[in-house]
């Protein structure tokens, strides 16, 4: 299948998938409404087996099945993309990665569709940034492509055994920067940060199991001044569209310095984009005062007393 055919098939698939996701969401809300109704009436048992509830369950089950099928089909369409190269071993870091756009399920921050692959032994964590241009993803899930220009996590990179590699690539109409961290030796107790597009990171335990955790993701801790990191040998770079994926350490030709773009985390959903800064501002605007909060607590307590 050609790249163009894959792209068309993916677009059609994601359209259906998006509709299915919205359907699932609608059905889940309906089910919740029904459940709350049932609780209020105190007829939970009878309502669960009611034809209306049963139909809802069946529709939801069918929608889930359809979604899973779309996920499988989507996985098959994911191209294997070389995202980096280990600065210790020279091994390429290749991943099934959705480079067609952030409307793909790979970018679903809540339930990402990312096939399991064998990672290089030295691989630590994948992070990234993206300059958003053109049409934004209209999918119902939230995509988190990171800040608008490349950066590093000093807390990770300052560890003596860790190095990072930055490389640019296109993700649909957007320009993305992959920043992959590697460690030699990988000790298992490294400071970690959240994976690209997710709000979790993964720790491998001594017995080979994986633990999923949420790390702090404060853009104030990011360092967007890459030059000192390159000069110190901790950060290497790969030229955009370099077929050999040659690692470089020189500064003069590095194309990733002094780029323009937001330093805040970006979020994309339903064709809209916002940053964490805006989120915090909104939260600050809507924040309850002490008095309002106390009134709310009192009303809740009174309501609970009535029951």
């Amino acid at each position: 299948m050609t790249q163009s055919n894959k792209s068309e098939e993916r677009t059609a698939l994601l359209k259906s998938c998006g509709e299915t996701m919205k359907l699932i969401e609608t059905l889940q809300f309906k089910r919740l409404d029904l459940k709350y109704q049932i609780i209020e009436n105190g007829e939970l048992q009878e309502a669960e087996v009611s034809p209306e509830y049963e139909k809802l369950q069946e529709d939801l089950f069918a929608a889930d099945e359809a979604y899973m099928t779309y996920c499988d089909l989507y996985t098959d369409l994911l191209p294997e993309v070389t995202l980096s190269r280990c600065p210790f071993t020279g091994e390429l870091y290749i991943l099934p990665f959705d480079s067609f756009g952030i409307d793909g399920l790979w970018w679903d921050s809540d339930e990402p569709v990312r096939p399991d692959v064998k990672l290089p032994d030295t691989f630590l964590v994948l992070t990234g940034a993206m300059h958003l241009t053109g049409k934004l993803s209209a999918m119902p899930f939230i995509a988190m492509p990171g800040p608008g220009k490349p950066y590093v996590h000093p807390s990770v990179l300052l560890q003596p055994q860790v190095k990072a590699v930055v490389m640019a690539l296109s993700v649909g109409p957007h320009t993305a920067w992959v920043i992959a961290y590697f460690a030699d030796p990988l000790q298992g107790n490294e400071v970690l940060v959240n994976e690209w597009g997710l709000d979790v990171c993964f720790h491998a335990t001594e017995n080979g199991d994986w633990i999923c955790e949420t790390a702090d993701a404060d853009p104030d801790d990011f360092d967007f001044d890459l030059a000192p990191w390159i000069q110190s040998g901790k950060l290497l770079w790969i030229a955009p569209e370099d077929a050999h994926k040659t690692l470089r350490s020189d500064l003069e030709k590095c194309p990733y310095l002094n780029l323009q773009g937001t330093e805040q985390l970006q979020y994309v959903q339903d064709g809209q984009v916002w940053t964490n800064e805006e989120t915090y501002e909104t939260m600050a605007d809507d924040a309850l005062s002490e008095t309002e909060l106390q009134e709310l607590v009192t009303r809740l307590q009174e309501g609970a007393g009535d029951e």
Binding site: R85, C86, P87, F88, T89, G90, E91, P160, P185, I230, Q231, S232, G233, K234, L236, D242, H244, T246, L247, R248, S249, D250, L251, E252, K253
Partner: protein
């Protein structure tokens, strides 16, 4: 016999050591023993006697060390030299059945043998790093990051040497340059000459001659291997201002490495960890360290299953050097021979070259080495290189195709008569201020400064001239 201060070790004369082994202990040496040469002494069969003999024979640690050296299970060969240092070789041996210590043997020029004991590989790596490595604790950029094929790596090393050449040439010709460059014919010719000359004062010949077991790695040089130089930012194409001649300009990475090695590189060391067998030893791991003031340049050689040889270059701080060298030594010293070999059974480590060193000094690929590596270890053919301007380039004779010559120390290398300065065409020195050569200089009789011959007074001290 005397003990070495600061380490658990001994200093003996070669004669005493030979007599102790052959005359007193009557040890038979294995094919891989580094004591072979010492014990060929004519009077080795005569036992030691006297006070020294009693002291040596009563020292259990020394006797165990000698037994390890006589029949090691694993042997690390280290060749040190290059840059400003003459060639020398030493070994580190292990035999777990005899003792837990690692035993190093170094033969000194004065006929002395140093035997040093190390409790583990980390102790050896620490000693090596402290003795020879850089002291710079800060990390340094790696301008030759992996992966680089072995043939590409040779070009990289030569480019560093080429920067040194360009610097020296600029210096000798009184032509300071903002940006160092070298002509393509000189770059290629010096590459050939560097390999042919075997002059370990330069980096490329150092690597070729100091790496034990290097000649068995497959080397398939081709024109496109030169691409790595531009790809990694070592050089870039340029033209001279006057006659528009194509030249190789040293780019940022090439300049940084060139300056580093020109100013601060003193020597390098090549290592081979080998497993002993009945016929000799089998090289398992090979690495090379070139310390500078900036970093420990550490190169590990690898063979991929497709039979290609790779050089993994890293810049290590002292701490990283100790850790990685110890890890590599642990790997090598715990290696066992594959089942197909008559020696102990075990699995062949993936990505490691294994070659048998036989008693006659020849090397043969191990039966179970990666198949493709066996097919072309020594028959690698060199494709002629062409510079970007497509100038024809003469095929290079690989060092591996040439019959192996015993390594010569720089001081022992055949000396080619130097062209006498008097025979060289002499350009008359031009006088300052374009004064006619016939004009006799006149100096002030009071202050000695050069003055105008027609002046009645000195322009410097103002005193009248006679």
């Amino acid at each position: 016999m005397s003990r070495i201060e600061g380490y658990r070790g001994y200093e003996l004369t070669r004669g005493d050591l030979a007599k102790l082994i052959v005359g007193n202990l009557k040890l038979s040496l294995s094919a891989s023993s580094p004591l072979q040469e010492i014990c060929r002494l004519a009077d080795a069969s005569v036992p030691l006697d006297g006070k020294d003999s009693a002291e040596m024979l009563g020292d259990a640690a020394l006797l165990a060390a000698v037994r390890v050296l006589a029949a090691p299970e694993h042997v690390l060969t280290q060749r040190l030299g290059g840059g400003m240092l003459a060639f020398e070789e030493s070994t580190l041996c292990q035999n777990r059945q005899v003792c837990a210590d690692f035993v190093a043997l170094h033969l000194e020029d004065e006929g002395l043998c140093l035997i040093t004991l190390f409790p583990n590989t980390e102790a050896y790596a620490t000693w090596w790093s402290t003795s020879f490595g850089t002291k710079e604790p800060l990390p340094s950029p790696n301008y030759i990051p992996p992966k680089v094929s072995l043939s590409e790596f040779l070009f990289v090393l030569h480019t560093i040497d080429a920067f040194r050449r360009a610097s020296y040439t600029s210096l000798l010709q009184y032509q300071p340059r903002n940006r160092a460059f070298i002509s393509y014919p000189e770059l290629f010719d010096s590459f050939k000459n560097a390999i042919a000359a075997r002059d370990i004062r330069w980096l490329l010949p150092s690597f070729l001659l100091l790496m034990p077991g290097l000649s068995q790695y497959p080397l398939d040089m081709a024109q496109q291997d030169m691409d790595v130089l531009t790809r990694m930012g070592l050089i870039e194409n340029g033209q001279t201002a006057g006659n528009n001649t194509d030249v190789a300009l040293f780019a940022e990475a090439g300049t940084a490495l060139g300056v580093e090695f020109t100013r601060t590189w003193m020597f390098a060391a090549g290592f081979e960890v080998a497993v002993a067998n009945a016929n000799g030893k089998v090289g398992m791991d090979h690495f090379f360290v070139a310390p500078t003031a900036m970093a420990n340049h550490f190169v590990r050689l690898e063979i991929t299953p497709d039979g290609r040889a790779w050089a993994n270059h890293q810049t290590y701080t002292p701490e990283q050097l100790i850790s990685n060298m110890a890890d590599l030594l642990d790997h090598g010293f715990s290696s066992t021979l594959p089942e197909s070999n008559p020696a102990p059974s075990g699995s062949f480590p993936t990505g490691t070259a294994a070659f048998v060193h036989t008693n006659n000094g020849q090397a043969a690929p191990l039966a179970s080495a990666p198949q493709q590596a066996q097919q072309q270890p020594l028959q690698a053919s060199f494709q002629p290189l062409q510079q970007p301007s497509q100038a024809p380039f003469q095929p290079l004779q690989q060092p591996h195709q040439a019959p192996f010559q015993p390594l010569q120390q720089p001081s022992q290398a055949p000396f080619r008569p130097l062209q006498q300065p008097s025979q060289a065409p002499f350009q008359p020195l031009q006088q300052p201020h374009q004064a006619p050569p016939s004009a006799k200089p006149v100096f002030c009789i009071h202050c000695g400064q050069l003055i105008d011959a027609t002046s009645r007074f000195c322009g410097f001290c103002g005193k009248p001239q006679a």
